[in-house]
Symmetry: none
Subunit: 232 residues, 4 copies
DNA sequence: AATGAATGAGTCTTCATTCAT
DNA sequence: TATGAATGAAGACTCATTCAT
């Protein structure tokens, strides 16, 4: 079988897995399901991927790749965009990505969780995962991604669209955190028992405003005299 | 058996579960494990908790309770603290909580995930969970917690320690998102292959600064003329 | 506690069990369910009944008793009824009993099954059952019941309402069989996919006619010349 | 693995199940038992049969098939037998079947019970059963079987061996009921405490006679004047 | 008499993974 | 390459029964 057919088959498996995991979640998706959806045998899935984990790492890789592409798109023809504009577009598309391609976003976050474990104690991470050829690739992908984001901010600082006193690296990670946290809880606010006057939409706007202000600085001058006392 | 002994036993089970889940994760922890660690029979676990899910919800409840207490502590004798100070302390202790009591923080986030599902389609949520007496309690806990956080910000706005143009609700949720996201990825940055000049510590500082500036406004005047084009 | 209260409590347990088993079946009814419905503790159920089997045997006993009463009622003031009339009424009320008090009828049949096992090999029968004080009582009840039925037929033979060439014992058992079998399958005939032109109602009539004819003889003279050949 | 080996293995599982259920009953037979007896792993049982219920339905199917074959055999070369003869042979072999292949007979009756439930309320029937591919097959088998029995009686009516005033359908179901009831209780009559002069053998004869007379009519003229009152 | 906490053996079922073909 | 039968280790949950109080 030629390289081409081989790749086709790998792709078919991956696509099947992505769709199924998207519908039912990783845990509820069995290797058998994937094989059936890809119209191949279970054994062949194991021929292409060493384990279910391995398959999921392939998905994670694809997740990083799509994310990277998304970052690149945000840059556009970079000459024509300020760093701030890049970041604005990026935030928009990142949020859309997390919503519409939840499988990928989940996979990426799952990987970050593994990385966390790995740092605490390498032994904690499943060897099948740790020693997989994918693992180091993913570490690299993660790194590349962060670099892109950081670059956007640096650019913005240089071109004056982003305030100069920011530290690009930590700002990027902070903004990323914001977005990750936003995705995590945006679905759960404002259930029936009210008192809290907020809905998904109004929060979204508030969120974006603060996101933007972090980069640009708030127009409102900071509270004058640094905190001039609680009660007059 | 008195109420006291009963509660002791419930506590013993809960503690065993908390420890095990903390070490191995929810999925990898079996009810059998919990029973063994608590030195009781598996059946008894089911006598006190209807299901593994139910047990996990009890943990979640405890998580919310601890979190609420933590919020209360941040308020301190409220007369003596500005809203900003409350929020500063809160962020500090929240981050510590998420690190040191990961099980609880995970449980709380897991519950927010359920709430998300519930909003999309109630049927998606496991009936065992949905119809549990815990479920509505947790919804309430979530709500109470948010109210506390929002109150801190409102207070700060009133006492002038937080900039007045903020919308308390969405600001709270945004800051919460930031912290959640921070916890999610702070463990995974700056693995070996460098280029990116950042480490956990430096990011933490950057993060806190931005967190703080959101509330106070940035001292640096915002990039003058509101972004009037990239360069020229 | 007086004898009276004791009996009241036993009765309460029994009634709870009867209702629950009627609704959910023996297997699906737990001792806990019964205790709860009777508003007593599980332990107390075991105080009054040695085991779940024992409780079921008490129900069986009650089933036999109700059946016996039903037989007695069918006799009425026996002076005023022919044996045939008794049997006709009996068949009617037996069928109603089996339908409306399914729990009891099932229990009685279940017991007959045990008896069957017992005859093949006593060891097969659960000792808890076999050695129960109920067991021999039930054997006696069964016997008494049969005697009543047989008596009805004998009476009918003597009073000329039932054909004289019948053997009372085997006729009774045969008719009982018919009714048991009828109850067993009457609910399952004539599902959708037709061709067979029969419905529950028409069969019921056919059944009754044949039941009646067994006792009375068929009006139609038996097929003349004993079977005069298949094809002339 | 060829189709043949596959069928062999299915058969092995089936046979193990049949034997075990025959010895211990459905409830007391575990899937593990079956696997062990068939010398395979438990997982493989579930590979061939979706559930224990499914396995039992396969047994039921086999029961219907054997029963159908038995009916066909009773017909023999139909040209040479009257309908009455067919029915006589049928009753004989049916009774033998119910005795010697109790598992199958029980399974068939169990299915009729399901059908009953299904008619009352489809929801009552376990979905695993209801939606099984076996279910509709079994409905069909049941139907086919009844058709064969009815045909035997119709034939007998046409060829003059069975009395012409009978309604084939309801007569068949009535006779089937008789046999089912007979099987149900024949094992339980005449235990020790006597008075009732009957034994299994004598009843069997009485039963057959009445069975036969239903079809042929009783030679004894029916009790003259239709029961014109009890005595006077 | 009465309670209900406690037990533990059991039951079905699932699934990642392997391997003979 | 490709198949899919086969494995076996779990794992969640149930329930009749017991027993200390």
């Amino acid at each position: 079988m030629g390289v081409y057919e081989r790749q086709q088959k790998e792709k078919k498996i991956l696509e099947a897995a992505i769709q199924l995991i998207g519908e039912k979640g990783l845990h509820a998706t069995t290797v058998d399901d994937v094989a059936k959806k890809a119209r191949i045998s279970k054994g062949l899935v194991y021929f292409y991927y060493k384990s279910k984990e391995d398959l999921y790492m392939a998905i994670t890789k694809k997740g990083f790749d799509e994310l990277k592409e998304l970052f690149h798109k945000a840059f556009g023809k970079s000459k024509e965009k300020t760093g701030l504009e890049v970041m604005t577009d990026l935030s928009e598309s990142y949020l859309a990505f997390a919503r519409e391609k939840k499988v990928f976003h989940d996979a990426v976050l799952h990987f970050l969780g593994l990385l966390d474990q790995y740092r605490v104690d390498k032994e904690m991470v499943n060897p099948l995962v740790r020693d997989s050829q994918f693992f180091s690739k993913l570490v690299q992908s993660h790194h590349d991604l962060a670099k892109l984001g950081i670059k956007a901010i640096s650019t913005g600082i240089k071109d004056g669209s982003i305030r100069p006193d920011l530290h690009a690296e930590s700002t990027f990670y902070t903004l990323w955190s914001m977005m990750i946290g936003y995705c995590r809880i945006s679905g759960s606010i404002s259930l029936e028992p009210g008192e809290i006057k907020i809905n998904t939409e109004s929060w979204k706007n508030g969120f974006k405003r603060l996101f933007f202000e972090i980069l640009k600085g708030s127009n409102t001058p900071s509270v004058s005299p640094p905190v001039q006392g609680k009660l007059f």
